[in-house]
Subunit: 433 residues, 2 copies
């Protein structure tokens, strides 16, 4: 049996999963890869930290050079996260002809180009399946299985934390704050949940997937982003009334020759496959011009699912020739230049929830303003009961409308005397073009 | 731009899809593969047959030797179907160092070994993504993405025709015959629908997938098979009453150290992701010991989806080195020998529907016999209204029970005087072990 040495940079959540899988599935991995995989070094920040797995002391190091300068280490696994020093370390390892596997979505989404170019120059493999949707093989799916297709659009639930929160809100009628607290107690959400609930995590993943699917460079800052903090259980209730559910979607589609990229809470029909993706599960729904509708569903995070993607990437390297650096990259990133649409050019159907003083003619005033901006209505719900302040809720469902028109209409609505608040505006996606 | 010549054997449904994709997505395929792909020859049985696509006359041939003896043809696509001459042709092409892509599930499931061995000996690539579940990349998913996992079990809806029929029966309360007729009108079912509705098609696919997932040779004859012809709309109704739906599942799981492989109509909880797979869609739900639950969903048949898988396989070959035959096969097929469990050793929960003469004590007699064979009941429904002959329906839901015990009990029930017919016996899968 051939032997190969690899190194881990990082031994947190994902690193621990990688270690456990390499240990418990050693026999399977040997048979499938043809190699006995030895973890020769693990880079950590603090040697004395208590860990969930038992790792031989002698392979733990705090000195990156122990990995870089050991030419017997052929593959380096970056699971430390963050931009620096992760990026510098990977670039240096590539310079020493080491193949790289990473789970670092933020780095790939923001400064990936430099890494892709270096890997290309040096002929080393640079795999990053684990960076999007954990154990779901969506990167390989797009890059290796759907190569016959023009990908027309995709819709992803790519953040498990927010999907868990929205599921709780929908199924158990919890408020956002309570659901968030539960997600934190379950370990799904961080103490500072900003990156998840404000959609930053999904924004990185959308940038990575859309750049692959459409063969173009995507600047993450051109991806429109909106989190789920404004969603209330009453919005869930109105969605249900119209046979819809609310999901945080990462959306990529073509629109007038440009790419429309947005992360946003979205109302979708309850019979769509994505509507039935609950808890912390992830799913990506893709349309290709040959394959038609396709969906990948699974665990988008967690030590073992993410570890599964990392170790799968290691096996893929071992099945090529690990000893040589002559891998020929298909530079997917710049196959076709595509412009990204500004959100103001986008068109959607909208759900708009407004609180108004209950007085004669208020609905007429509202619809007049909407009409002025060409926002036509599919249906209106005016809730009968006033609250103690004499206020009622009005819910509007619009036909397809431009984002700019809706924004202008809403601005004018806010100045309308009887309008107390515009409580929420949620885009609707019915998957028809 | 490098050029490569390929040949098609067959220009039916799938062959036409391949031709259309190579034509309409030529630019994408060139950029992704690095090759300008030329279809140099197409083998057909009848040159004069009217076709859905326009193909230059000069590349159509009825003589296999035009392909075999042309050394400039590097890849041969077998989409003719059937065992012979497809097998002979592929073996001969491999002998001439041609790489092969096939969509032929029957051949792979029954006589694939010889083809795998020949490909191994000659170092040519032998790809067959299209043989299972059309456009869904389930073969690559298992073989290349889930390599870090011990796969513990999977459940597949792998036949679109039967899923279309069962969906119609469930959602529109059609009878089997009417639903089958609609499937035929829609082109989903053949004039002779036996292979689909009796589960043969799913049996082949289960043999292929389980051999890959568990790394063992699977004799297709050891896969238990039961079709959907006995399912009636009344069964759908009772399933619904217990929050379940009926699907034709291809099931593979471990059971006492053996593999349990069965194709059968199955009642599953309506909230399971597979329960929401409707119409002619396919889906495969997999559990790996690292990745956890994973599902692939998409079009399991059709010209373009199946063509998408075939052309994806072609691109994969082009990205390796098409000019040399030195591909090193990981012989997945015989990594681990696994025994296949006989269906009589299997354990399930059961739904049993019986028609009896409505007379005092009949339920007691039935439950006594069930008790004798250790079949314990979770619930019993006795339908109030008799039909004109004084007969009523009794529906039993059992706890987990051995197949052998249920068979014996049912045999004895059939001899019971008031029992008119055992109308149906359907296994229940709740995905808990």
């Amino acid at each position: 049996m051939k032997k190969v040495k690899i190194a881990l940079m990082g031994l947190g959540n994902v690193g621990t999963g990688v270690w456990m899988i390499l240990d418990s599935n050693k026999k399977e991995i040997m048979k499938r890869s043809g190699y006995d995989v030895e973890v020769a070094k693990i880079l950590v920040r603090n040697k004395d930290k208590k860990r969930d797995v038992e790792v031989p002391e002698e392979i733990i190091t705090t000195d990156f050079n122990d990995i870089l300068e050991d030419d017997s280490i052929k593959i380096v696994i970056e699971v430390m996260g963050g931009i620096e020093p992760a990026k510098e370390y990977m670039l240096k390892c590539m310079d020493r002809n080491k193949h790289i596997v990473t789970a670092n979505k933020m780095l790939i989404a923001t400064e990936g180009d430099e890494l892709f170019e270096k890997a290309h120059d040096k002929g080393v493999v640079f795999n990053y399946e684990a960076s999007v949707a954990g154990g779901i093989p969506i990167i390989k799916g797009i890059e290796e299985s759907l190569t016959a297709n023009k990908i027309e659009e995709f819709y992803g639930i790519v953040n498990g934390t927010t999907n868990y929160i929205l599921s709780k809100m929908q199924l158990e009628r919890l408020n956002f704050d309570v659901a968030l607290k539960q997600a934190q107690d379950m370990g799904y959400a961080e103490a500072d949940p900003t990156s998840d609930i404000e959609g930053f995590d999904a924004q990185y993943k959308l940038a990575i997937l859309s750049s692959l699917a459409f063969g173009t460079k995507v600047d993450v800052n051109n991806v429109y982003r909106e989190g789920i903090t404004k969603i209330e259980s009453i919005d869930m209730k109105y969605a249900k009334k119209f046979d819809m559910v609310i999901k945080l979607l990462a959306i990529a589609k073509e629109s007038n020759g440009k790419l429309e990229l947005k992360v946003q809470p979205t109302m979708i029909p309850k019979e769509h496959p994505l509507a039935n993706v609950y808890d912390s599960f992830n799913a990506i729904f893709i349309k290709g011009n040959a394959v038609g509708d396709l969906m990948f569903y699974g665990r988008g995070a967690g030590s073992l699912p993410t570890g599964s993607a990392v170790v799968g990437d290691i096996v893929a390297i071992l099945r090529s020739n690990v000893d040589v650096a002559n891998y020929s990259h298909i530079a997917q990133n710049d196959l076709w230049h595509r412009e990204i649409q500004n959100i103001s050019e986008s068109h959607s159907k909208f759900y708009i929830r407004i609180t108004v003083i209950d007085q004669p003619g208020v609905l007429g005033e509202i619809t007049t303003i909407l009409g002025k901006y060409n926002v036509s209505l599919r249906s209106v719900i005016q809730k009968g009961e006033e609250n103690s302040k004499g206020q009622v809720t009005i819910v509007l469902f619009t036909h397809k409308t431009s984002e700019a028109d809706v924004s202008s209409a809403i601005e004018e609505l806010m100045n309308l005397k009887p309008v107390i608040t515009i409580d929420n505006v949620i885009r609707i996606e019915d998957f028809k073009n």
